[in-house]
């Protein structure tokens, strides 16, 4: 069996009967079993095989309706903060061990409706709080390019699984870079959609004004395909924006086909490079980034520089907002309705305090406590409200930039994947790693990380950023770059 399958080609092969979904799933389950990367928290072998057999049967019986399903028989890994009916969902936290959701997240429902095979739930930083997957209660995931290094985070399990061929497609979530960071570190594609494009119903909330679910894949086309499937309108998410464009794959695929024959057509694209996103980046990463920008120029892009004056404040504002929202969102974990409960009950407050003390990991505690502080009387104006106002400045910088440019380009991460254990002891040094990814979440714009070569033998990511709900232009630019880069 092939080492790697691209998702959109695989659907065709399954539909045509050339590849059996069951055989593929068996092969992937075996790879997962043999692997020492720790990509998965839960593997759903039996349910996955059953779904795969159902897909194969539909092909044999020429079931017209089933054959139209866009992910028929295609294996997908789902990050463990996304609710899956009947499958344990832990957010990589002790406090949720054994929790089995009685319902599916809207994106999971959408995957099933389109015939996808859910392979399992991937490892992550506890409650998405981290950039290395080391804060997981289930131990860290390792980077497939160098097992002594982190895969990035928080969707590290999803990115490592895609990079190592332990799944075909994966879902991650991105609050401040949690899709793009591991995609960059693992050398795969990761897309954070515009805030409000994908339903968050069933996504276990960390910082709900910032986060989106999105695809982690081997190629831009696969990311578009998976985005099309999950970006359904959903009355259950009141923060979702209705009536915007939600389908991108077909157009992109037609484009890719013609570019394959005739070479990538000249792009009529104005690309802005925000200066502050390149300052302070490691030399090797910077070199790879400018080489990528050169390639965009060769493709016809008109490249210019721009300054983001809010950049000085963005990272601090992001962490204040994320921690504040977390302190409120995570108040629900009390062991009453689900999750960890201690044998002996004491009085009301002490019971909860003990459960939460034992159930949450260190980083989660740190963030809840800081969030509680930022929201407390006397500090609200200095921290939380100030951060919300800085958020407006960041939005303004993006608005200004998009008057001059169609797409912005930056390095995704300021450095390549570092060693396990290297930064985890100093939380602030880890927060600084998110400097280039968090402004995107503050503004709610879409952003994609695509591989752009190596530095010291490790993958570097190019981050492209688009206008609100202009995934079409963003994906087109990413596809052109990807095709030109591979030539």
């Amino acid at each position: 069996m092939k080492e790697r399958f691209s998702g959109y080609e695989l659907v065709e092969s399954i539909r045509g009967g050339e590849v059996s979904s069951e055989e593929l799933v068996l092969e992937l389950l075996e790879r997962i079993e043999r692997s020492d990367l720790n990509c998965y928290i839960t593997v759903c072998g039996d349910a996955a095989l059953e779904a795969a057999r159902r897909a194969d049967r539909a092909v044999r019986e020429n079931d017209r309706k089933a054959l139209r399903k866009r992910l028929l028989g295609v294996p997908v890994a789902v990050k463990d903060c996304i609710s899956t009916k009947g499958i344990q969902t832990t957010c990589a936290s002790k406090i949720l061990c054994g929790y089995v959701p009685p319902f599916d997240a809207t994106v999971v429902r959408a995957l099933k409706d389109e015939g996808a095979v859910i392979l399992g739930k991937t490892n992550m930083d506890e409650f998405c709080m981290g950039s290395t997957t080391e804060t997981s209660y289930f131990g860290p995931t390792r980077n497939p390019h160098d097992k002594s290094r982190v895969p990035g985070g928080s969707s590290g399990g999803s990115a490592a699984a895609v990079a190592a061929g332990e799944t075909v497609l994966a879902l991650g979530t991105d609050t401040g870079g949690s899709i793009r960071c591991p995609a960059a570190f693992c050398g795969v594609v990761g897309l954070k959609p515009t805030y409000g494009l994908v339903s968050r119903y069933g996504l276990i909330a960390y910082a709900n004004s910032l986060e989106q679910i999105g695809p982690i894949t081997q190629s831009v086309l696969d990311a578009a395909l998976l985005l099309d499937v999950i970006a359904v309108e959903d009355p259950k998410d009141a923060t979702q924006v209705k009536g915007v464009r939600r389908s991108f794959f077909e157009e992109l695929r037609t484009l890719a086909a013609s570019w394959e024959k005739e070479g990538v057509a000249k792009l009529k694209l104005r690309v802005g490079v925000p200066r502050e996103f390149v300052e302070g980046v490691d030399t090797g990463v910077e070199k790879a980034f400018w080489a990528a920008v050169e390639r965009l120029k060769e493709l016809g892009a008109d490249v210019g520089e721009i300054s983001f004056r809010s950049m000085r404040f963005a990272l601090a504002a992001y962490y204040v907002i994320a921690m504040s929202e977390a302190s409120s969102n995570l108040a629900r974990y009390d062991g009453l309705r689900y999750g960890l409960r201690l044998e002996k009950d004491e009085d009301w407050h002490t019971t909860f305090s003990k459960i939460r003390g034992k159930g949450f990991g260190e980083e989660v505690k740190r963030r809840i406590i800081l969030g509680t502080f930022a929201l407390s009387a006397g500090y609200y104006g200095r921290y939380y409200l100030k951060a919300l106002k800085v958020r407006t400045l960041v939005r303004h910088d993006f608005d200004e930039a998009f008057k001059r440019f169609d797409v912005l380009a930056t390095p995704t991460m300021p450095f390549v994947a570092f060693k396990l254990g290297e930064r985890i002891k100093d939380p602030l040094s880890l927060y600084l790693a998110d400097v280039n990814t968090v402004p995107i979440n503050l503004a709610g714009v879409p952003s994609i990380s695509v591989p752009c070569g190596l530095s010291d033998g490790l993958p570097v990511g190019l981050q492209l950023i688009g206008r609100h709900f202009d995934e079409a232009t963003l994906l087109k630019a990413a596809l052109a770059f990807e095709m030109a880069w591979k030539d």
């Binding site: 319902f103 309705r337 009301w348 100030k386 602030l428």
Partner: protein, 92 residues
């Protein structure tokens, strides 16, 4: 951040900390707050705060009764329950 402040905040957040954690947090939270103090320099006097990036407000739907989860499905994950209720610790 002083130890008493950390104890107060962890009580507000209902998270019991070990002595070891308190000591560690004393140092770490202080340096993180120092990092946050860059916000003091932001000139945002006349700037409106952003709550939803696209600016959606007041999303309404019809008040229609829909099917909800059966009681057993809702209670299944509860570590302690009694007669179809979640069982909490005593209040008084």
């Amino acid at each position: 951040m002083r130890k008493e402040e950390i104890e107060h905040l962890s009580w507000l957040a209902r998270i019991e900390l070990t002595e070891e954690e308190k000591e560690k947090f004393e140092k770490q939270l202080g340096s993180i707050l120092e990092f946050f103090s860059v916000l003091d320099d932001a000139d945002v006097e006349d700037v409106e705060p952003t709550h939803h990036v696209i600016g959606i407000t007041n999303v309404f739907r019809d008040d229609e009764v829909e099917e909800s989860l059966p009681q057993e499905a809702v209670l299944r994950n509860a570590p302690k329950r009694e007669d179809g209720y979640f069982k909490g610790p005593r209040i008084l």
